[in-house]
Each structure stands twice: as C-alpha cells, then as structure tokens.
Amino acid sequence: MRARIQHLLAITLAVCALALFAPVKAMACPFDGGCSSVNLDAGAATIELSGEQAARVVGVASAEIPMFVYRLRQQCVVAAELTGNCSPASIRTCPQQPGRVIDYFFVQRRPVVQPGEADVLDGFGVGDPIGDWENLREGCFDITDLNPPPSPGEVFAYFQRLPLPRLETRHQPPGNGLSGLPVIFYTDSPATQTFTVDIRGFTVVIAARAEQYTWHTGDGPPLVTTDPGRPYPDQTVEHEYESGTHTASLTVTWGATFTVDGSAPADVPGTTTTDGPPITFDVLEARPVLTDPYD
C-alpha cells in the first residue's frame, strides 16, 4: 500500500510540477475536470518524488505523508487561472542561494482514502485521492531536489546576462548633415538572435527579438519606434538638427521567447536593453552664394 501511496504522490507532484513550471498559457486545463491524465499522457515534464522527498521539500511530518497528496502552486499560476494574467504583484521573491532553486509556493494537500474509510465513497479504495485541495501553508521552498525545468523567472535572469547585440546607428546623408535637411536614422544590424544555454542540465533556447528602438538624437527628446527605420527614400525615422556637432545613438529593448528541451515556446517575462555605439557628425549651415554660370 505504501508503494501505491508513494506512486500516487509521485503522480500528483509530477502533475503539479508540470503546472508549476509550464508556461502559463499552456497550463490551464480546458475542461471542467480530469485534466491530470491528459498532462501525464502528453508525456510532458515529469518529476517524481518519493514520500521522504515530499516530507523534506514540503516540510510535513512523515506520519502525514500517507494521509494526503501534496502540491506546490505558484501565486502567479493561481492568479493566471483566476484572471488570465500574472501580475507583478503576484510574484513573491525568496532569498536565493547559488545552485539552488528556491521559490515562493502555496502548499496544498488533498486527502486520500485511509484504511477503514474504504466505504466512505462508492468506487474508491484505500490510497485514492478524494476531496478538495486545501491550503496548508505558503512560503519559500527549496525545490532543487525536484529538478524542475527552469521557470520563466529563472530564464529571465539568464536572458538579462546574454551578450545581446549592440545595434549600430546608421544615418543619412553620410558624413555631414545639412541644416534644414532632416537626418535619416536606421539600423541594419540583425534584430533577432537565438541563444542556446544550459540551465541546470536543461537545454533552453532563447530567441531574442528587438521590440523597441529608442533613438537618442543628442538634440532633444529621443525618438521611440517599433521598427528599425529604413534608408532613403523609405525612411521612417528622421530628425532635423540645428547646425553644430551632434552625437546620436540607439538603445534597443529586447524581448524573447524560450523553449525548454524542445517544449512549446513561452514568453520570457521581461525585457532588457542594449546601447549601441554612438556616432558623431556635423550639421552644416547652408549658405546661398550667387555664382555666374558663364564664369
């Protein structure tokens, strides 16, 4: 019986681990009930946990382990199920330790049929989970032993440290500009880049893309666009300068999606920026000069 209970516990925690770390959009069960078997059949991430591991990770007395199945839920997941969104207010942070996976969870438990209770409900036997999930406690838990796939927040931490390209600013006319003639800005540097990183043994592919371009003209407020601009005659970003020497640069805001071991892509929950190298150019004052065409 103990083996069966541990098996149930393993399945439950596996399903829940799937819910915890899968992208929010892919996690919600589309049906009223009975989704656990779908997730298991799909062969998605499976994390097994023995009773002793449950006792250690969840922090309950060993004697209680056979009485309940347990699950850990992130507030973000709960909020997403309720409202469809995971707001920053739902994310709780925990003190981190190098090489450990520590996150904030709600611990829930659900009773299983105990010996002597086999007749409580038709069709259920000892060890079967029945009843409702109830909140047991909440807090920071070290789940390193569960070896969960990287969470979106963990991927974001890597994303922020990636050597994203610093996009160069191109301008037209090349060389010096002319007052009264707008200077055209654009960049022809790649706006996407893919990185493959190893996070605790998981192969994580992060596909970064430039989402916003902030053009620092050096002369007034920056110009913000979602496109990289184009050269003449299809320009979309231009600025008219007074005469003088000016320095311009480009800041790019990067977003990304990620996959874990070939999973469906999910959004990285946050953006990061890179500053491109500045360029300096002169804008000259045009001065009319009468000339003799026959001279």
Binding site: F31, G33, R110, D132
Partner: protein, 175 residues
Amino acid sequence: MALLSGCSDRQEASTTLPTSAAAPTTEALPLLGPPDFPVPPEARTKDAAGAEAFLRYYTALLNRQRPLLEGQPLRDLGPECEDCWRIAKNYEEAKAAGQHYEGGELTMNDVADPDLNDETASLVFGVRQEAVDLVDHNGEPVVPGLETQPNMGSGMTLNWSEDDHSWLVKSMTLG
C-alpha cells in the same frame, strides 16, 4: 418583535392589510443564480442537506453553462473558488474563439455525508464526466480531448453566506 397593547386602549380601525411578522420563508429569499436557473430553496439551508443540494445544483449549473459558454454565474456563486473561475474563463475564451464543447456532462455518482464546521461545509463526492472535446466551428478538436472519466474523486468546500442566505463555493476539485 410584535408589540401587544391592552384591550382598553382605543384604536382606529386599520385600512391596510396586516403584514406578516413571521420569519422569512424560502419564497422571500432574494434571487440567486441565473434568473431562469436560480439556486433552489433546498440548497439555501444551513445544514448538511442544504450543502449537498447546493453541490448538486452547482454541478447542474456547470452542465447548463457549458453549452451556453457563459461563465459569470459560476463566478457569482464561487467568488473565491479558483477552479470555478478557471472553468468560467474556459467557457468565455471558447466563446470568444468561436469554439464549443462537445460532451463533458457531469453526473453525480455518490456523495459522502457532508462535514459541517460552523460556516463551512466540506463535501467529498464521485462524479462521472462524459468524454469531452473542445472543437472549433468546423467541429475539429483544438486540443486533445478527454475520454469518459467514470468516477472522478472530487471535493467541494462551501462557505455559508448570511448576506445571500446561501452556500457559496470556496473551492472545488473535479478529478
């Protein structure tokens, strides 16, 4: 409280019909739930029978709202219930996407005696869920469907609401 006065006091004859001072009857309960599918009076008593009746009503409400793809009544009667909100959102998102459910009806198999504790009732039950698919306007499944679940171990926790004079779903687990 009714006040009695002595017979010796002179009183003018009343020109209006007397109003009942009796305790409110179930007929006087404010409407709760969809107007054409309200919470029945037997589900609005603060006892084990009322809790079980509410469970059966809410299950029937799920069966009613699923083809309608309208989730708000589920939220109204489960304001704190995460799974109720999840299901409500499922219905509404399916409607917005031009999808609908085929199958999925719930049938109660067995209900254990409710566990009442002050303002809360905990119910354990087994429920059958028919095979279900979420399909697009062409009838093509948009996600892998579910086979019939003949007896899902389930639970529901109810809170008694004095304001509504009814049970409301605090949490629910189907399967």
